[in-house]
């Protein structure tokens, strides 16, 4: 009986000890997931490229994505909002200080805490590329800079009028898909992003992501090459189309997302199928390292802080789980990413020896002086030699 009691007590103590141990095991396994996405901060660059009253819907598109992104946690300091025209205070707006996204004025996406960073004529191709690559003059204020680092996930949303391979800015200039791809490559080389989600809602939007070649880019577009993206509903009270179809359904989808939701990218790809959108939305994930099914919506649209409060010490000796390999491509070896070697340190440390100066070939010197001597003796004769020596 004593022995029985001892065993029970021993088992009970074991249980007591193992529970927190088990719990910390649980946390340790979860800790692997902490680092699975690899990002620590979120940024968003939302651009509307068209001006004039009849392009109301593009401003409404951008503002609705801004609203979702802010609602899911990204602060204004991490959002660069570029609106090419002011619809809320436009003299043709019958409801001033508002921008509606639903007919019957259900949802005002303008609100009273909208912070526009680039407005009006400041929205140019040059400024957009400068924001992306970080090459801004020193006098640019922080609110106008994309201060991302190599652990930032960036959401880039573009809307406006576009075509096959270009996007029109302000009715006077264009950005081409190659320029965009090169800007992203610059960002990659300058380690300005961890992962980047690129959404574009224009006509023939898929052409804009065709030329991407940098790693960790995922792109969505509202229409394929040769298709137009259509606008959703006109509002008879305001007199213009309020939203584009794709962004309307995207907004509807995002309204269901909250900071803790586990909705992933595969759900986002299903937004606005052809039956609803008339155009065929497209997406591109071949440059992305992780499986889209494991990428949360909030990885890009929200700023979800990975905080888990625990009172126990956790041993992180077990290696971090590697990112889930994409199914179906396990036979293809995905080579590990390396950053470009920007400073050839090896060469700087071991300085190259100084170049030797050029010297005339010895044969030449020999030949030249032999000839000179020959001519000398021919002219003056050998008999003079005895006067020299």
């Amino acid at each position: 009986m004593n022995y029985c009691n001892l065993i029970t007590i021993f088992a009970f103590i074991n249980l007591l000890v193992s529970i927190p141990h088990g719990y910390s095991n649980y946390v340790e396994t979860k800790a692997g997931q902490f680092f699975s996405s690899g990002h620590t901060n979120n940024w968003a660059v939302l651009v509307c490229t068209s001006r004039f009253w009849f392009n109301y819907r593009h401003v409404a598109n951008t503002l609705s994505v801004y609203r979702s992104v802010k609602r899911l946690g990204i602060p204004d300091s991490h959002i660069v909002l570029m609106l090419a025209d002011d619809m809320a205070c436009n003299y043709r707006n019958p409801k001033p200080a508002t921008v509606f996204s639903h007919k019957n004025m259900e949802l005002n996406v303008y609100g009273d805490d909208v912070e526009v960073d680039y407005r009006g004529y400041e929205v140019t191709v040059e400024n957009f590329l400068r924001v992306l690559t970080g090459r801004l003059p020193p006098s640019t204020p922080r609110s106008k800079r994309l201060l991302s680092d190599d652990r930032s996930n960036i959401l880039i949303y573009l809307t406006g009028h576009g075509g096959n391979g270009f996007l029109k800015f302000q009715d006077s200039e264009e950005i081409s898909n190659m320029e965009l791809a090169d800007a992203f490559e610059q960002m990659w080389q300058k380690r300005r992003y961890n992962e980047l989600l690129f959404i574009i809602d224009t006509c023939q939007g898929a052409s804009m992501y065709e030329r991407f070649y940098s790693p960790n880019l995922m792109a969505l577009a509202s229409s394929q090459v040769g298709e137009d993206s259509l606008s959703h509903q006109p509002d008879l009270g305001i007199g213009v189309h309020l939203m584009d179809k794709y962004t309307f359904y995207l907004l509807e989808f995002l309204e269901e997302v909250h900071p803790a939701s586990q909705a992933n990218m595969n759900d986002l790809f299903k937004v606005c199928p052809q039956s609803q959108c008339v155009s065929t939305p497209g997406h591109r994930t071949d440059l992305f390292q992780r499986d889209p099914g494991s990428v949360l919506i909030t990885d890009f649209f929200g700023s979800v802080r990975k905080v888990e409060i625990t009172k126990d010490t956790i041993n992180l000796t077990s290696p971090v789980e590697p990112p889930i390999k994409r199914s179906g491509s396990s036979d293809i070896q995905i080579e590990s990413l390396t950053y470009v070697d920007q400073l050839p340190v090896a060469e700087i440390i071991h300085q190259k020896p100084k170049q030797k100066d050029w010297h005339p070939p010895d044969g030449f010197i020999l030949g030249l002086w032999t000839l000179i001597l020959l001519v000398f003796f021919q002219t003056y004769g050998i008999k003079h030699l005895k006067h020299i020596f």
């Binding site: 005339p360 070939p361 030949g367 000839l371 001519v375």
Partner: protein, 435 residues
């Protein structure tokens, strides 16, 4: 004559040394009248730097010197100033000695002509005496060394000074009678810039005269000597070109140096006639006009040789003058070379007709060159036409000078044989016209 010559050399070296050390040196090195794309010192340094970097110096249309120049300057680039001062000294010395030899020759010929009664009775005042000819070599050396053009050219370190030295040495060897050395030096001068090729004719005529071979195309002795001399000349040219090939291991220098001289691609303004024409010319006329302009340099050789076959040294003077007027990239250094000869023809003074005009034109143009350049390039109130007008006038002055001396020389020869006071058939005074 050694003491005055030494004094002259010291004075010349002092002037050049002082100017080298002053701030004017850089100013002068940049003037387009003094340096041209062919002989600028900046380009020599650039070519040597390219060579040190392991690249052919002829890449990039910067460097247009011959490989032997590369060889020379590779070892003396730090002492360049001394090299150019020595070159000027060699030129002056060579001119001095050659004019001395020439004067002896002239006097000897005059003596023979007097003894053989070839001169008419009333031209005694035209005869030259050793007394008046005594200071001529010194004056020649002085005219070369103290000529502002020469000093400017030396201070700018333009390789024109070296070219002048080679031509002066060639003249010296010719007048001394050494055909081999003359051929070699002429080949060297031709190798440097192609135009001294025209000096082959006067040198040949001099040797023929010296060896008493009559200049008769039907005689075999003429052809025999001509072929000998031509063989020495062409042979040395081939050897020198081959040596240049071995220096750098490529034939790059031929299009860069000779192609450049002939096709005139660089239209930097200079005191010559090419740049303005070619700047405004349509592309498909370019070949035609460059041929015309280049033929203009070589063309005067044959008629002048025929006319002056008894007077090869004067022919050399004329040829050098024509080269420096009509060459594709002339500089004031070229002008200085033939101006050095002028004291040798000081006995022609009484027959010169345009002294005042020519001297005024040359002085005024030399003064106006920098003024109009400044107005064109810096002040912007003139344009290239102004500068080209002065160039034209300068060349006109030079041509007038040369033509004047030509007229005076021929007139003196005519008077020597036909008498000083010429009469027409009806007894009135005749005038002599150069046709």
């Amino acid at each position: 004559m050694a003491a005055p010559l030494t004094l002259l050399l010291i004075v010349a070296v002092t002037i050049r040394a002082v100017l080298f050390r002053s701030s004017l040196a850089e100013l002068i090195s940049a003037r387009v009248e003094v340096v041209s794309p062919l002989n600028a010192w900046k380009r020599v340094v650039e070519g040597l730097a390219l060579l040190d970097l392991g690249v052919s110096p002829y890449s990039g249309d910067v460097f247009h010197e011959t490989p032997l120049m590369i060889y020379l300057f590779h070892f003396t680039v730090d002492y360049a100033e001394i090299v150019f001062i020595i070159a000027d000294g060699i030129t002056a010395l060579a001119l001095y000695l050659s004019i001395q030899t020439y004067n002896k020759d002239v006097f000897r010929k005059q003596k023979y002509a007097l003894e053989s009664d070839r001169y008419s009775a009333d031209c005694l005042e035209l005869l030259r005496s050793p007394k008046e000819m005594f200071y001529i070599p010194l004056k020649v050396a002085m005219f070369y060394l103290l000529n502002p053009f020469t000093i400017l050219s030396c201070v700018a370190k333009s390789t024109c000074g070296l070219n002048n030295a080679i031509i002066a040495l060639f003249i010296f060897c010719t007048l001394k009678g050494s055909a081999l050395l003359s051929g070699i030096l002429l080949a060297l001068a031709t190798y440097q810039s192609i135009y001294p090729l025209t000096l082959f004719a006067p040198a040949l005529l001099f040797f023929l005269q010296r060896l008493y071979i009559p200049v008769n195309l039907r005689r075999s002795s003429f052809w025999f000597f001509t072929l000998q001399y031509a063989f020495m000349y062409v042979g040395s040219l081939v050897v020198i070109t081959g040596l240049s090939f071995f220096l750098l291991g490529s034939w790059d220098f031929i299009p860069s140096v000779y192609g450049f001289i002939f096709s005139v691609p660089d239209l930097t303004p200079n005191i010559g006639l090419f740049w303005y024409f070619f700047a405004e010319m349509f592309e498909h006329f370019r070949l035609f006009f460059s041929c015309v302009f280049q033929i203009n340099v070589f063309f005067y050789t044959i008629p002048l040789s025929i006319k002056l076959k008894e007077h090869p040294v004067f022919l050399i003077f004329m040829q050098i003058a024509i080269i420096s007027i009509f060459k594709s990239y002339p500089t004031v250094g070229d002008v200085a070379l033939y101006m050095a000869f002028l004291p040798a023809w000081s006995h022609l003074y009484r027959f010169l007709r345009n002294i005042f005009l020519v001297s005024c034109v040359l002085l005024a143009c030399s003064a106006l060159f920098p003024v109009l350049w400044h107005l064109w390039i810096y002040a912007g109130s003139a344009n290239s036409n102004f500068y080209y007008a002065i160039t034209l006038l300068f060349n006109f002055g030079q041509i007038l000078l040369v033509a004047d001396y030509f007229y005076a020389y021929l007139r003196r020869e005519h008077h020597l044989t036909h008498g000083l006071y010429l009469k027409k058939k009806d007894g009135t005074e005749a005038t002599l016209v150069l046709k």
